[in-house]
Amino acid sequence: MAAAASPSSMESAPRIMRLVAECSRSRARAGELRLPHGPVATPVFMPVGTQATMKGITAEQLDALGCRICLGNTYHLGLRPGPELIQKAHGLHGFMNWPHNLLTDSGGFQMVSLVSLSEVTEEGVRFRSPYDGEETLLSPERSVEIQNALGSDIIMQLDDVVSSTVTGPRVEEAMFRSIRWLDRCIAAHRRPDQQNLFAIIQGGLDAHLRATCLEEMTKRDVPGFAIGGLSGGESKNQFWRMVALSTARLPRDKPRYLMGVGYATDLVVCVALGCDMFDCVFPTRTARFGSALVPTGNLQLKKKQYEKDFRPIDPECACPTCQTHSRAFLHVLLHSDNTAALHHLTVHNIAYQLQLMSAVRASIVEKRFPDFVRHFMGTMYGDPTLCPTWATEALASVGITLA
């Protein structure tokens, strides 16, 4: 099945993505992003370093793992330490001493995650600070202003985000408002030559609303598009259909960033559906709970079964943790109060995600992506036919059969 035809983009928009290879069956693409702080191979997983730090690992460790782009968060950094201080520190790159690329989220997601502390109007989102009770208004203009000060290579529009489990007129309101906020962000953006502003497609789980949003937003002159409002509590069945709908209608020659994904299976399926960029707190967060990601799922290393398991987490993994330490030692360390245990797992889980994306990319370039997918599912689920139904259907929709 040929990749679905996509609309061509506006002539004048900057092309930051170069396509290197495309899967002849599915919509998977391999490419390269050209960003101010260096090239980034796609598909790419971007670890999340919310508050100007990748949790317990140093910039050098993150660089050594091959990470070339990671995330910061506008809402959090806007509060602490604030854009003025970061600007004095030569931007977020200077403040955290990260030589590669940064993507900052606009603060939109916090509307959902901190819903009890926020109120949305046409003006923007009013947040009550959990730290000092002070109220701040995050408008499209303010979000872009903060992100301009942060100096990240990719900045996100402020979107009106509703939880994917919300239904009714609020979803439509949020979708249309996101379009208006996109236009306000574009107008407010002071540094289009140094920072790439991405639009975020909304519309919840309603195909019609999504389609409308896609039609409108793709008329705007932006370097890239994100698919937002998913990866919440919705069913996987609805999730993949919205992703597929979006990639079908997004321009071929611009990057597609699927926000909040995620789990290994989701990454592989969504690459097949035509997504290029991903972010998720899951791998780094689960590390801090003692969970190590492996091709067959995960190892809960605090459990007694690992007490005398002297193998590394994954014998195929090239990360420093797997090169030096056994599951048994990590088990011991996880039961102590030495934070080094968490760092070992954070290093490994990031390595796992990045190695997965590398392998996916290589398979696309070498024209064997469908075989890669089958092998991946076989390893993960024991047998390709035991793969979750939603994934099987999603893959089938783009021409990849698992049996």
């Binding site: 317990g56 140093t58 420093p320 080094a340 760092h343």
Partner: protein
Amino acid sequence: MKLSLTKVVNGCRLGKIKNLGKTGDRTMDVPGCLLYTKTGSAPHLTPHTLHNIHKVPAMAQLTLSSLAEHHEVLAEYKEGVGKFIGMPESLLYCSLHDPVSPCPAGYVTNKALQRSTIIGVIEGGDVMEERLRSARETAKRPVGGFLLDGFQGDPMTLETRLHLLSSVTAELPEDKPRLICSVSRPDEVLECIERGVDLFESFFPYQVTERGCALTFSFDYQPNPEETLLQQNGTQEEIKYVHQTKKIKTTGCNQEMTSFEINLKEKKYQGDFEPLVRGCSCYCCQNHTRAYIHHLLVTNELLAGVLLMMHNFEHYFGFFHSIREALKNDRLAQLKELIRRQAS
């Protein structure tokens, strides 16, 4: 294991412990310190970040209290605790207690220790007669060295015990190393070296880290005059500020902040883009600012502990290096005066 002394000046010993390690070809400088670990790992640090630190001691300290419960696992592992903890190349010293959180007495293990050197422990409380008896009797045994136990306490207690310490070390053979436990502050380290102690634990930089502080004391006893002026101005400010000793409650380290350090949580560091210590060669000072560390502490980020530990260990190991250099160049008096001036 054999200690060969290069020099003894006013009771201070400078030398090398030789014939260490599995193949007997490793050495360790004295006066020196041991790398402090918790459950077999430097606190907060993986081998990668530990490797960023310069002059890490050749010998690491493991604490039996953190590993005893895993002895079955270690027995089944068969390849030794060094490899198990990911430090196969390191020399290892195993102490009964963790100096930061000592357990009550009563730890006994009957497991055979092959190819390990036994260190004899000198006890005796504050009673001179008992101390001398312990020293003399232990010295008769075929031990590789001596652990001076029970000299810890608050700075005032150490004063009175320093006298005992001299008498004890006088009874010990010259060619075996003397280790003291639970003494780690820079000023106390120097006092003990003057009374014949060779090796120390390095838990002080860990305690400093846990209270969100960074070691900033100078051990540069032959600085250039311009640097001195700059440093002095900085140090004066900091000493003045710290004069009200602050009790900072942190997990397991309910210790007072000393005048050897600065507290990065203080608001004044919010916009301070200097490194922790100007001229410091550690990863943290080469890559980050006080403002960044302040931010990490305020936001409770794990990286704060990592970066502070890297700096504090490097600073502390640098201090020991300067002690050895000072002894070599007959400058220990200058170093001692410099440290004394900075002690509160």
